[in-house]
């Protein structure tokens, strides 16, 4: 609950901090990129605050490099 609020709050704060400057200088493309990343950030934070299970990058690493690692360790035993 608090986590969700904090996430949105922070997101708003950050937007309020960076966006006015960007829009005043007509840097729309940058504003879009900023908002994209901010959206990802807010989403992640909110989901995490709601204890939604999210994918783990380390697991991806295990999947990608796992077999190779096993073979290397086999050699080094």
């Amino acid at each position: 609950m608090w986590g969700v609020l904090a996430s949105f709050g922070a997101g708003l704060l950050f937007a309020g901090y960076e966006l006015p400057r960007l829009l005043r200088a007509q840097r729309k493309k940058e504003a879009v990129i900023f908002l994209m990343f901010l959206a990802i950030g807010i989403t992640l934070c909110v989901l995490h605050a709601l204890a939604v299970p999210l994918p783990s990058p380390y697991q991806w690493l295990e999947v990608i490099y796992g077999p190779l690692a096993e073979r290397i360790f086999a050699m080094l035993q």
């Binding site: 990129i33 900023f34 990343f37 950030g41 992640l44 690493l61």
Partner: protein, 382 residues
Amino acid sequence: MERGRISAQQLMIMMVLFVLGDTILVLPGSTAMLAGKDAWISGLLTVAAGLGLIWFYAAFQKRFPAMTLVDVSVNLLGRWLGGAVSFFFLFGYLLLLAASMLRVLGDFMTTHVLPNTPVQFIYLLFLVISVKAVRSGLETIARTAEIVFPWVVMLITLLIMFVVPQSRLYHIEPVMAEGIKPILAGMYIFLAYAFMEPVAFYMVMPFVRLRQGKGLRKPLLLGSGMGGLILVVIIFFCLTVFGPVITRESIYPSYLLAKKIELGEFLQRIEVIMAITWLFTLFFKLIISFYGTCLGAAQLFKLKDYRLLTLPLAMILMVLPDLLAPSVIGISEIGQVYPLFDWTFSVGLPLCLLLVQLVRQKMKRSRSSEEQGALPQKGEPR
């Protein structure tokens, strides 16, 4: 967009702090797990190999002066392929590295120092100063490193001094009883964590102010060498004070080492002060990776100011560390696989880029014999 310039000396100091990063906390245990009581030999060999690797970094950077890794990729591979490669480097590798630093920090603090504090606050505080650091620019980061460095060195020296009387050489004997294979296994992690992860410096090296005739090689080699040797010393003392069994069973043997400091009745259990050492080294590894990510992203998306993405990326960094693995055990288990990840980006990527450049040079030369083999755009980075 980064108009700051740092000196060679500052680069060296940042390199030492970066190399020590999480390794000072994590490596003694992991290396001992693989190499047992010969872990210190692993260390020495790794430093030797690692210096070669660093030499390669310096040489690579020399071929592409004033260009960050993103610049080089985009230049050699074109906007789309180079962009994709950079994207993976920045958000797949560097950002993950930063998140890993935070995770190590969080795990350490919640298990040993502030057990009652929710880890989000630990992340939050660290991110506040990290964002402040990255937004303040490379020069500020470099200068802060210069200020902090003597203290880190002093603390480590004190640690060693206090611990020497308690070390027993029999713990590491007989030397090389198990043969060379465990030692090589130990090198597997050590080399990756200590000498490959500094690939992040590819985002920083273009901004070094070099004097006539001097190159990047010396500060980089000195810095990484010093860092590596410090690590070897710490591993050595972990082994000789506790023995290999305890060293490999504990997750943070250097902290255990710090617990051994005592001076009479009154100066004991001050290991928290020692913890400041790795708070600083983790901090620097984090901010240099974070800085690299932001700067690279700005180059990739052609942003005017790299500081734009600091806040959104910081939000992502609040969550990423928790996603990495469900528990502390997971973090040390990743040590099996992570080094290969390091190999990919730290050796694989530069080698490929180098290959592409050589091929292009050959093609250019064969296409027209009058034209000089043109190197990609040299010039000041944006």
